[in-house]
Symmetry: C2
Subunit: 339 residues, 2 copies
């Protein structure tokens, strides 16, 4: 088994890092206050809240859901791991579309389960009817990575009904998108939404994510997680984060504005850019091979993600970074493409 | 499946909490500096080091082991989960002595494995020869909880050889003890030591633990963990912690001194106190039932752990708290026992 290989983490400050969809902006100032408040001997030496109840109350208010419908996780990878362990027996079957988040296959491999992949159609929709019946778990990233595309909630509801079994709607990028599946909670059995604080909320370094599902399902999932899977500083940060929607609304506007300009500029450079509902762009090029472009950018200390899928070919997934970083990317790309 | 039930977390400040073996002292002042340094927009918005290399270098120096022999974990529960998933198939068998850490059975249940428990002898040693052959994984807590007793490294080496398969030496309390198994790394195949920062290092709130084993085994275990299982603040705190052995040496002396006085006082109150190599005491009473004592303490807002094992009866596991908290405990116990 090879395990999941995360995106490269060249962290020297002069590297333009557009490969793991981190937020170019800092988290809310309230996060720093909340962590500083929680940073004391009493809170460090004692175990944290096992279920993160303070966070759940806050998130319940902001998202208008029952706090008991929320499970806290050490990143959404922890949540996806918990879901896989809860639903999938060894020798079981999981299903997911492809190309999508490559972690799904790693999770299945670790669990000793078989992965059944379903190719997206050319317009990044799943085939209808969905061809895999009886999977122990179906993962569906929406918006999807690497494409950045979404299905609307009505289409998600239809898909989940066709799947007819446990369904994970992985909404890692939902806060950048025009629609999400939150209103479907309670409408469909064994339907779980996962969210991360690593992308929109700019807390990749702090590891926080959550699942949202019916409370009776959350209670069962809680038995599978480590008792204290989220630490006291991450819980404090996540609570302050979700309560500061005003700050993040401003960040959203800035990132979407950069995304728009970036898509236009990349198109002018000859790329075929898939319209995105996320903080990244999926770029192909009808005339130029992509791997040399990725490698040339890397020599210029600009990291993007080169992805090559056996069934659908390759592309560059480029994070919407700060305006300055994107300017540098576009300048270098123009030089590379002239060669 | 019932899942693991962690110790009660009544966190109001007037509660004397002697039930989850937290350290009564704050972590090193260097921890606060290190977290404050790491608390900036750049480190929060970016993913942390996947393998915690800065910590591994520091811990390698302090423990005099190869940094590549260290796996970082989100608490030692995360490490124990990773080990279970790596070694134990569904329908597999795990073995461990009893009474011991009750999480082992929960981990086996989640994995769909069978638990084979081996009763300790009356002097808290394992039966020799060890009676379970062919387990996929054997857990052995050393020092053990709830007893606080240890086996010396020579006895551990003999036991691991008799077990003849993957062996986890769970050293959650090793820093309080007179001996540990670190020198056995590399001497025995599939031999893993786990450590936590929740007890001796006073970082229960921050979730940090580690595995120590041969580098080739650590590389395999790393494939099973979540890619970014430790956050940037916990990694910074853990690094500062392990580098400040002087501070913790002082804490050790204070806790061991309190433990000594506490054992004498509890014995004078009529308890049978098992000699401890940890930061807690296992107490029975030849004349008085223990559950009413636990309950009477709870009404006085003093939490200890009442444990009742089907094969070996019940007892109170009492954390070595601050001198002030232990004084309050002893005062209340004297009153309760007079009734």
């Amino acid at each position: 088994m090879s395990g999941y290989t995360p995106g490269e983490q060249m962290n020297s400050p002069d590297v333009v890092k557009l490969n793991t969809n981190e937020n170019p902006y800092a988290p809310s100032p309230r996060v720093f206050e909340a962590v500083a408040d929680a940073l004391n001997g009493q809170s460090l030496r004692k175990y944290p809240q096992p279920l993160g109840d303070t966070f759940r109350q806050a998130a319940g208010r902001v998202l208008n859901v029952d706090p008991d419908s929320i499970l806290v996780g050490n990143g959404s990878d922890d949540i996806l791991t918990i879901l896989t362990r809860a639903f999938v027996p060894e020798g079981g079957r999981v299903a997911f579309p492809t190309p999508s988040y490559v972690l799904y296959k790693s999770l299945a491999d670790i669990q000793g389960a078989t992965s059944q992949t379903v190719p997206f159609t050319r317009d990044w929709t799943p085939p209808s009817p969905w061809p895999v019946r009886g999977a122990h778990l179906t993962y569906f990233a929406n918006p999807n990575s690497p494409s950045g595309t979404i299905l609307r909630r009505e289409a998600i509801a239809q898909l989940a009904e066709q799947v007819g079994g446990p369904f994970v709607l992985d909404e890692a990028y939902a806060e950048f998108a025009e629609d999400n599946g939150l209103s479907l909670i309670g409408q469909l059995p064994d339907f779980v939404i996962t969210r991360t604080f690593s992308k929109f909320y700019a807390l990749a370094g702090l590891r926080f994510g959550m699942a949202i599902a019916e409370p009776k399902l959350i209670r069962e999932l809680a038995k599978v997680k480590d008792s204290y899977n989220c630490d006291v500083l991450a819980l404090a940060a996540a609570t302050a984060t979700i309560e500061d929607q005003e700050y993040y609304s401003d960040i959203r506007s800035r990132i979407l504005a950069t995304r728009g300009r970036m898509a236009v500029a990349l198109t002018e450079l000859g790329f075929a850019v898939t319209p995105s509902q996320t903080n990244f762009l999926w770029c192909r090029h009808p005339e130029r091979p992509l791997k040399p472009i990725y490698e040339a950018l890397k020599t210029k200390k600009i990291l993007v993600r080169y992805m090559n899928y056996p069934d659908s070919g390759d592309g560059l997934r480029i994070t919407v970074g700060s305006p300055k970083d994107i300017e540098r990317l576009l300048t270098e790309l123009a030089v590379i493409l002239k060669q």
